[in-house]
Symmetry: C2
Subunit: 498 residues, 2 copies
């Protein structure tokens, strides 16, 4: 439905004249921006995860896993992680921008397409920069890309402010509109200005360029992390410039929940299908090959690819279930905050690494020692992807009155289920990792067991949680006469029997 | 916002207690299905377009473009088109299913993930079947896949009907619930039952299997096309089984507009980025290579890839603008019908072919004769992709009272703009195609000119349309004394001056 996208949650009711609001919009040429934002989110999430492909496609034969391959692999992983962060920064800037610009018209839609085109080119310039760290051209192109993005975004701001009906009326800007525009333009153009300097420096002394670019990329994250820590230590502080609070890096600033969901959905969807892309392309055996090597037996030819299929199903199931946990969590989220967005990004960055882990698992399937390594890497990636989801929930619980629906809060009916859902993958992967240390011979078996067991655990989760709660209650009932007082603060954790 | 997805358009208003409806849902463990459906749409659209990759990655050197390569390319294109249709049939079945099942719970979400996993495997089994048309194994695997999908969908139906609060209350089923369930199950299991037969026949006489499978895949399309033609010729007919009309292949049956949008967005997004996936992976020059072949000059090394970048920008701009036209059209669509869905599928299938066209354009950049061929193929693909969009609009206009918002109907303010927007690409590509026939030497120049001119034409569209209308009106004013009567029926086409 093309309802207005606003930072405030909207209630949807069935009306008998559903077209009235849309006709009014159509009359002055404006449109709701929801679908354009969904499309942008899909594009950006694909671009964010694209650099995992060079990593997964690195040719590694178990015989010659030497230094140069290791270095190449490490570089590519670094490129992937950095690209993910860079695109996420661009996505966050885009989200902030379209929280201010509430409606669009044709010109804004076309400007947004231009912005997307420039952003999709970022990963390439970045990997060029990494491949040739000492050649100014890579740095220069990357900076030009950032400047182009900034220029298009500035155009969008200027255009939207000259047609005020495009602005989101719910973004309260107490200051005059001219001041607001200046404030937003300054934030939008801060990064490009630094990159302009960096591009200049790249021509005669490139190390300075790297410092400047690192500032552009990491400043928002460092800012967020630092102010989160400060908030934790000193308690939330009043913003000094109260009138401008809608466009700061304040951690309690609401982040559009729908856009976080759409971006995450895109990442999960592309990651879940990355392996099938490879399988469809590479694993259809050649007719001549089957005739010569397998004496015409297609079954024999396919059984060579067996580990690939297993890896695909494992990868899909894990990504799907991590999506399921994310989906369950966001069902109970009322408002997303910047700190949750940061943790979500970190979780997604590890989710994007899953195809790598699984491909390694299938590639090394015959070398016991390397297999152990790659099973451990897989467990670690799953652990980090899921633990950051858990951290996101913890961050939400810290401000539960604003961020969570009542059932998921402390003492709510769904609290214990939510806890169990989000804790399942961290526990399972940790357990699998630990058991590979003791039973290193059976590491593949353990890993596959985990892959099979976890989906069933999700299916039986409600039953298991109820059993566990009943057990806990029974134990507490027995123990109450002895230690009733100490347990009292934990009581709200337990939901009423359902 | 997690509002209910219903076939009826909903009006969204700002409420002061936005959480009330969601809390009620959370209390009985049900959830709105919107986000799950968005995720499914993203997955399915990626899977639908994945088989274009083997086509674009077919190694063609201009020297040895012989019969075997041509045959391989033709097979792969056929596989792509067929896969697209098959996945779209699966998507349509999924859409129909979740128009009946209005809400989900955890079990349904997990069942849906299982369904997605099976569907993502369809393209692989299909390409296996095409590569080894005479080996029963490929047919067998494909049928097993279809049966597995049917089984999971049947499970979803049975589960949803045993918890009636999960069903969509707006789907009016006058018959008792048991009959409804039977009716739906029969439709869901019809395809899998035929495939079960086909799997059986594949073991001893495989041609019958192909006939059966073709029935499964094409029946819905043939049905739709036939009844559309009948409706056009004889006028719309009353459905005999009126109580069951919500789950038929009736062409006027509403199709969830949001799901059509979400699926289309996914296809456009993945197609727009398919080329950048390749560029990021293949076109970062090797450091050693730059040293040896280009004497350390990165600029020289990159200039080799020049045509690839040009192809990328061209492809992105075309896909982006086709998305823009689609987006503009659906802004004015009130309700999508099955016939519009069919035309949309055809348009999207050609959109998916765009990366192929552009890659060919860049690969043949040095061979004048082949270049001409590939420019023509590109023009043809763009033409078909855009003409089916135009046809979709025409189909909507045939029932404009139900399907379109007032401004886009005949005589509405946006009608002429809409016409111009949708006619721009068909005209431009046709013009480019025609001019390559006369000026075959400059075909690349013409093609690039088109790529550059069309975005500007979109920007200036409103201005151009107004100019054209004013001109037309002036001409008519002059001509009125002579032929005023004949022009009268066309008068509503012209909007009031804005």
């Amino acid at each position: 439905m093309s309802e207005p996208r606003t930072p405030e949650p909207a209630l949807s009711v069935q009306g008998d004249s559903p077209t009235s609001t849309r006709d009014e919009d159509a009359a002055d040429g404006t449109q709701h921006s929801q679908r354009m934002l969904n499309f942008s989110d899909a594009l950006l999430s694909i671009i964010a995860t694209v650099m995992i492909l060079p990593v997964t496609h690195t040719e590694i034969s178990p015989e010659q896993f030497d230094k140069s391959i290791q270095k190449l692999l490490a570089t590519r992983i670094a490129v992937y992680l950095m690209t993910f962060l860079i695109v996420t920064v661009a996505w966050a800037a885009h989200t902030r921008l379209f929280q201010v610009v509430g409606k669009i018209d044709d010109t804004l839609a076309l400007l947004n397409l231009a912005c997307m085109m420039t952003i999709t080119f970022l990963p390439y310039t970045f990997s060029l920069m990494m491949a040739f760290p000492e050649v100014p051209l890579g740095i220069f192109l990357f900076c030009v890309c950032v400047i182009a993005i900034g220029a298009v975004q500035a155009l969008i701001v200027v255009y939207a402010f000259s047609f005020p009906h495009l602005l989101n009326p719910q973004v309260g800007c107490a200051a005059p509109r001219g001041l607001c525009r200046q404030h937003i333009l300054r934030i939008v153009l801060r990064g490009p200005a630094l990159c302009f300097l960096a591009a200049g420096f790249s021509l005669f002394f490139y190390p300075v360029s790297y410092v400047l670019m690192a500032t552009v990329i990491f400043l928002p994250y460092v800012n967020k992390a630092a102010s989160w820590c400060r908030d934790r230590l000193l308690g939330p502080q009043e913003s000094p410039a109260h009138s401008m609070e809608f466009f700061t890096f304040n951690l309690q600033e609401p982040l559009s929940k729908e856009r976080v969901e759409a971006f995450s959905d895109g990442v999960y969807a592309i990651v879940a299908t990355l392996l099938i892309l490879d399988i469809c392309e590479d694993n259809v055996p050649d007719a001549k090959d089957v005739e010569e090597r397998f004496h015409g037996s297609l079954v024999a030819a396919l059984s060579v690819y067996g580990p690939h299929f297993l890896a695909y199903f494992g990868s899909f199931a894990t990504v799907g279930l991590l999506w399921f946990a994310h989906h369950s969590l966001f069902l109970h989220v009322r408002k997303a905050t910047q700190s949750m967005g940061l943790l979500n990004t970190l979780s997604l960055a590890f989710v994007g690494g899953l195809p790598l882990a699984y491909q390694q698992t299938s590639a090394f399937a015959r070398q016991p020692r390397d297999e152990l390594e790659s099973v451990r890497v897989s467990c670690a990636i799953i652990f980090f992807a899921s633990i950051f989801q858990f951290a996101m929930w913890t961050a939400a619980l810290l401000h539960e009155a604003e961020t969570l629906q009542p059932p998921a809060r402390f003492g709510g009916r769904e609290h214990a289920f939510m806890f169990a859902k989000l804790a399942l993958y961290p526990c399972a992967s940790l357990l699998a990792f630990a058991s590979t240390c003791f039973l290193s011979r059976f590491s593949t078996a353990i890993f596959h067991l985990m892959q099979i067991a976890v989906p069933f655990a999700f299916l039986l989760l409600r039953l298991l949680v109820r059993l566990a709660l009943a057990l806990l209650r029974a134990l507490r009932g027995l123990a109450r006469p002895a230690q009733g007082v100490e347990e009292a603060p934990q009581a709200p954790l337990l939901p009423a029997p359902c």
